[in-house]
């Protein structure tokens, strides 16, 4: 039987070098007994042989877990950890065997340590000692469940770099003066001041943020177990807060509804938004505001905003699409999403300058179906297109284009009021009532949806040809 005496329980480096030596010498876990120096070595054990060269390769994850679990106070930990690395050296998949008893134990022990570390990050309370050479100095007393000072101190270093601090625990202490993190021996509570001026504010905050109408003591204690309370300044207020909770709620319930605050009207007075009235809209800006407020059909309920047309009032060509998509809805501008990009490229190829066109849609609000993190476009119904023609007609009346290009079937319906196939209208210029010319073509999103590349290229060519026709017609 080999005997390993650990001088510093919880010290990973010491355990690791002992374990490496045993592993390299092929010493089976059942032939080793582990104890810490405080427990006293047995008289009969042989000392462990020093480590030989040629360390056994172990999964990195296992070493990371071992570095944490060695801090566990369970005296069995060094032996169990050794058994696990012994097995892991022979079974590379060991850690993945979640149902194995050793692995199950390891995961649970690791979870306990990580929880303890997390709680220490949360529940350490610094008290101010004063200031020295322009640096504020703080101290804290904390009693972790396990020997985790070395696991937690780097967190405090990263966070409180700009101040000097010491965290004292019964086992060890961590000290930071702005240069290097130093560890020292454990200490006692009375090394740290008994109060801090800011604690009154903190306790006031704690009391005020508590909602007496929803007492859930178990939920609090599950996350903030009582063992931590003695070092939390706010914990002394828990009992009185709970004792008074019921009465506070009762008072709220019983208090008769009081008269409104006499200053209400004065406070609420503000300049009312100018109302854009549908009937006397005479500018594109006014029209955009009115469209944004439209409630003529229920589509406004879920969309972000009504997206009005965009472009110069003097534009000769008006492009009409179907409806705003996801991006258009977010940004409040037509044709800024993926289909807009396709359109922009096609316009450029056709020699049309987007800034000289008026771009708009048959329907002004985005219609969609939520699906997880996305909004799926839904076609507007003819009813919705017809209701929204109210706005399209106003845009047409203001811009008075010579030529309208409809992109897709919804746009065609929006402009003509009739459902017709694009195929039947395509290739020739039509004349609308009042002499405006019309060219019907596809919607650029149609090109995005085509899986067949060759066909998509053909369709795109035809689309650009339609745009070129429009340019020539308007010239």
């Amino acid at each position: 039987m080999r005997e390993v005496v650990l001088a510093a329980p919880g010290d990973f480096a010491e355990w690791r070098s002992a374990a490496r030596g045993l592993l390299a010498n092929g010493v089976a876990p059942e032939d080793v007994s582990w104890c810490d120096s405080a427990a006293g070595a047995s008289l009969f054990g042989e000392a462990a042989a020093p480590a030989r060269a040629g360390a056994v390769a172990l999964p990195r994850e296992l070493l990371e877990i071992a570095e944490r679990v060695i801090c566990h106070r369970d005296p069995e930990v060094p032996a169990r950890l050794y058994r696990i690395i012994w097995r892991a050296a022979r079974d590379r998949l060991l850690l993945a065997r979640a149902t194995d008893a050793d692995v199950d134990w390891l995961r649970k022990a690791d979870k306990a340590i990580r929880r303890d570390v997390h709680k220490m990050h949360a529940f350490v309370r610094f008290r101010r000692l004063g200031e020295e050479a322009g640096r504020e100095r703080f101290a804290a007393w904390f009693e972790p469940a396990h020997r985790i000072v070395r696991l937690t101190a780097p967190f405090f270093q990263r966070r409180f770099t700009g101040m000097d601090w010491v965290i004292v625990t019964p086992d060890a202490r961590a000290i930071w003066h702005g240069e290097t993190l130093v560890y020292g021996p454990g200490g006692t509570r009375d090394e740290v001041p008994a109060s801090d001026v800011v604690e009154d504010q903190w306790r006031t905050y704690y009391g005020a943020i508590f909602n007496p109408a929803r007492v859930k003591v178990d939920a609090m204690r599950a996350e903030m177990p009582k063992k931590y309370w003695k070092n939390l300044p706010e914990a002394q207020d828990i009992a009185p807060l709970l004792a008074g909770a019921e009465a506070r709620v009762e008072r709220m319930r019983e208090a008769a509804v009081s008269m409104a605050n006499p200053l209400t009207d004065k406070w609420r007075t503000r300049v009312p938004d100018e109302l854009a009235l549908d009937d006397n809209v005479t500018t594109l800006d006014g029209l955009a505001k009115a469209i944004d407020r439209c409630t003529r059909c229920p589509l406004y309920c879920n969309a972000t905003q009504g997206v009005a047309g965009e472009g110069p009032e003097a534009a000769r060509i008006m492009l009409v699409g179907e409806q705003p998509g996801d991006q258009e809805d977010l940004q409040g501008r037509p044709f800024v999403g993926p289909a807009g990009q396709v359109l922009d490229e096609a316009l450029e190829e056709a020699g049309l300058d987007r800034t000289r066109l008026f771009l708009t849609n048959a329907v002004k609000h985005f219609k969609f179906e939520p699906r997880g993190k996305r909004r799926l476009h839904q076609n507007p119904t003819t009813g919705e297109i017809d209701i929204c023609r109210w706005w399209l007609d106003k845009e047409r009346a203001l811009v008075k284009p010579d030529l309208i290009v409809t992109l897709g079937a919804s746009a065609l319906r929006g402009v003509t009021g009739k459902s017709a196939s694009i195929k039947s209208m395509r290739g020739a210029a039509h004349e609308l009532e009042g002499g405006t010319k019309l060219i019907a073509t596809i919607h650029p999103s149609f090109l995005l949806r085509m899986p067949d590349r060759a066909r998509a290229a053909e369709e795109r060519e035809a689309f650009v040809a339609d745009l070129i026709r429009a340019r020539k017609l308007a010239a």
């Binding site: 149902t99 990050h121 949360a122 990263r158 800011v198 905050y205 609090m220 509804v257 972000t304 977010l330």
Partner: protein
């Protein structure tokens, strides 16, 4: 009227802030003070530094800049017509409190909101100013959550996104009718527009990062912990279905990280037409469970509502179980063969348990004994699963399956 002390202001302005459920400090980028030699860090995982007796985590200093408000939302303690005591912090006072608390490790950072004073823009400017002072004058690297004031200029929102980790705009009431009757000054489309400008800010920052020419260049981040919102449950007539409908619209449209559901709880000096009842905590809990099903379990709202009655979730059993009881034909599921998506639909299996099952079954068939090591409770799973050593037989379709799970009806006290 004598000026209030910091302590008095803190009592008023923390009390006024407690009806906002959000306190998360997670999901932001990793950063620390090693380089700046200042104060503060965020490490992805949030930290709850304390818990109030209401069971809620205290992670941030959650306060209002002021509880004066020109709005008159009837569910709100700070509405203009309320007689609640009023106070106002200066930006410097908030900065001081935040740093004092932070240095003592009481908090992860600041969650600053405000009543609307003067105008939406003015109020937003004040909030942004606090964040600016913390970040620029004090090199503060802790967590900052700013309330975005619906209707504030998008330029101010863009600025807020540069300083804050998270932005949030509260919807408060899920339906158009609820909002127009309870919060006349709040317009749902204004709220959505504000959320949209946060979303646009986020995607622009992502685009800028992608298209940078110098690999090492660090383009400014925009609210790296994303945006969230809150809806009040039980103040108006909205059903769970309405609430979840609004939630899924918001998740899909504005990529919210979280929607918080806050059971309406009685406030001092309440408005006449509000329920002076206990907050519907169980309803709130069920909504959170349904929300999780939407975000992590691949459920659509319509599916969740299959287990509901009249648009309201079952209060006695959780929504996944309620759905499964309506969809018995989908069960039992073979633990060793079913795809991940199907395992996620088994009542009693959470995402983590499912991950562990999928990993463990690669190395050998799992029996009930193995499952006991991988999940919290096997008992709940039994009617819905098959393993080599277990078949539920008629249990899956038995008529009293619901009774196995629902809490027993309490016997009424017998009259003497």
């Amino acid at each position: 009227m004598s000026a209030k002390t910091i302590l008095e202001k803190l009592a008023v302005l923390a009390d006024a802030a407690k009806y906002d459920a959000s306190c998360a400090s997670s999901g932001t980028v990793k950063r620390d003070s090693t380089e700046t030699k200042g104060i503060g860090s965020t490490e992805g995982m949030g930290i709850c530094h304390s818990y109030a007796p209401d069971g809620r985590c205290i992670s941030l200093l959650k306060i209002l800049l002021t509880n004066f408000c020109i709005y008159d939302c009837r569910f709100c303690i700070n509405r203009a017509s309320s007689n609640v005591e009023r106070a106002r912090f200066s930006p410097q006072e908030v900065v001081r409190l935040t740093l004092d608390f932070y240095k003592r490790n009481y908090i992860e950072g600041l969650f600053l909101s405000s009543g609307i004073i003067r105008s939406e823009d003015y109020t937003m400017e004040q909030l942004v100013e606090v964040a600016r002072i913390l970040r620029e004058e004090h090199r503060f690297a802790g967590y900052i959550h700013l309330k975005t004031i619906a209707g504030a200029d998008s330029g101010l929102i863009a600025l807020a996104g540069l300083y804050a980790d998270r932005l949030s705009t509260n919807v408060e009431l899920p339906t158009e009718e609820g909002l127009s009757s309870f919060a006349p000054e709040k317009k749902p489309e204004t709220i959505r527009k504000t959320m949209a400008s946060v979303r646009v800010g986020e995607s622009e920052a992502v685009e800028a990062a992608k298209s940078r020419l110098i690999g090492k260049a660090k383009p400014p981040r925009f609210a790296p912990a994303g945006q969230s919102t809150q809806m009040i449950v039980g103040a108006d007539a909205a059903r769970d279905d309405d609430i979840l409908k609004t939630a899924s619209n918001l998740y899909s449209g504005y990529q919210l990280r979280r929607v918080y559901y806050s059971a309406y709880s009685p406030i001092p000096d309440a408005s006449r037409d509000l329920p002076p009842v206990r907050p519907p905590l169980m309803r709130e809990h069920r909504l959170y469970q349904a929300d999780w099903l939407l975000r992590f379990y691949g459920f659509e709202r319509a599916e969740i509502m299959e287990g509901a009655t009249g648009g309201m979730l079952d209060l006695n059993i959780d929504p996944k179980l309620a759905w499964a009881l309506q969809r018995r034909e989908a069960f039992p599921v073979d633990i060793n063969r079913a795809p991940r998506e199907l395992l996620l639909r088994v009542p009693g299996l959470g995402t983590r348990a499912v991950d562990r099952i999928v990993a463990a079954r690669r190395l050998g068939k799992l029996g009930l004994g193995d499952l006991a090591k991988l999940t919290a409770s096997v008992k709940k799973l039994l009617p819905f699963i098959v393993t080599p050593d277990w078949r539920p037989g008629k249990l899956t379709d038995s008529a009293d399956l619901r009774a196995r799970f629902a809490p027993r009806a309490e016997q009424l006290a017998l009259a003497l």
